[in-house]
């Protein structure tokens, strides 16, 4: 199934900004992070369909997953 992955800030470095990926049924957000070599504790925001999700969220066909690092300075 096809999903769209959008990366932000540091996560774009040596990766991509937006990419479509063909992933297996049952793929979770954690699986995607692992495949992209993104360390879970580095993640600040995970959005699927515009809402924060946890890493155990199972993705479905057509999902757009946006991944942001922790950016919390002021």
């Amino acid at each position: 199934m096809l999903i769209t992955i959008k990366l932000f800030a540091t996560f774009r470095q040596d990766r991509f900004r937006v990419a479509e990926r063909d992933v297996a049924e049952g793929t979770t957000v954690a699986d995607v992070l692992r495949a992209l070599d993104i360390d879970e504790p580095e993640v600040g925001m995970l959005f699927v369909r515009g809402r924060h999700v946890e890493t155990d969220r199972v993705l479905v066909e057509g999902d757009a997953l946006a991944i942001f690092p922790l950016v919390g300075g002021g």
Binding site: F8, T10, P41, G44, H52, V71, G72, G73, G74
Partner: protein, 253 residues
């Protein structure tokens, strides 16, 4: 009524379509609290003061240090060692003596946050850490005070407006901060002191935060409620992501 001096001072607002004299009166009547007089708070406070917000509150328990001055533009070299609330209040008075400043030289904690955010029309989150950010967001949500919240680091930033007690056109509640951000593990968050920040980054995000405050008070345009702005100043990419639930059959929210 505005004095002759105020009428001249705010002339570019008063002639501006959708602001005008009535809009300027709304700004004068408004009470805005800025938590953190640092990188984000500096431009937010300066622009809100210049715009003629009637009462500005400032919360910060820190003193100005030399390494702040690369981005915290409300403070000057002569202010090093001075409490930030004092330095910021002096800069505001110098810019616009019509603004009443309320200073809170304290660190927000569970005991004081409720009393501090009570009674403001809008609160701006310019804090530099996640625990305080969540504390502030919870207190504002409980008291139904709109919160303009932002974060910055290195070359990046984000900004959104939280009104979680309201529902959207789809009947779903607006997101709160817990719906948008993961609560980071203790000690896993790099600070600006560790990884650095390009000085203009909080300038951009803090100025955008002030813009959202003015829009909320004036009832203008579309504030970033149920939307989050993500800014990448290396790519010069400004992306607005929806932060609402898309109701799709069979897909859990």
């Amino acid at each position: 009524m505005f004095s002759r001096e105020e009428t001249e001072r705010y002339a570019r607002h008063i002639v501006l379509r959708d602001v005008g004299g009535p809009g300027q009166q709304k700004l004068k009547a408004a009470r805005v609290l800025v938590v953190g007089a640092g990188g984000l708070g500096s431009p937010a406070l300066l622009y809100l003061a210049a715009a003629g917000i009637g009462t500005l509150g400032i919360v910060d328990d820190d003193v100005v240090s030399l390494s702040n001055l690369q981005r915290q533009v409300i403070h000057a070299t002569a202010d090093v060692g001075r409490p930030k609330v004092e330095s910021a209040a002096a800069a505001i008075r110098g810019l616009n003596p019509h603004v009443e400043v309320r200073s809170h030289p304290v660190r927000l904690d569970e005991g004081n946050v409720g009393g501090i955010v009570e009674g403001w029309d809008v609160v701006v989150d310019g804090v530099d850490n996640f625990p305080t950010r969540f504390l502030l967001a919870d207190a504002c949500a409980a008291r139904k005070v709109p919160l303009v919240t932002a974060g910055v680091q290195e070359f990046w930033g984000w900004l959104t407006v939280l009104k979680p007690w309201e529902t959207g056109p789809d009947g779903m509640p607006n997101p709160g901060l817990h719906d948008l951000l993961r609560v980071p593990e203790e000690g896993r968050v790099a600070t600006c002191a560790q990884v650095g920040i390009l000085g203009v980054v909080p300038g951009v995000l803090g100025t955008l935060a002030a813009t959202e405050v003015l829009k909320l008070i004036l009832g203008l345009g579309e504030p970033l409620v149920r939307r989050m702005l993500n800014v990448d100043l290396l790519d010069m990419d400004f992306a607005v992501e929806p932060t609402e639930v898309e109701a799709i059959a069979g897909v859990p929210g």
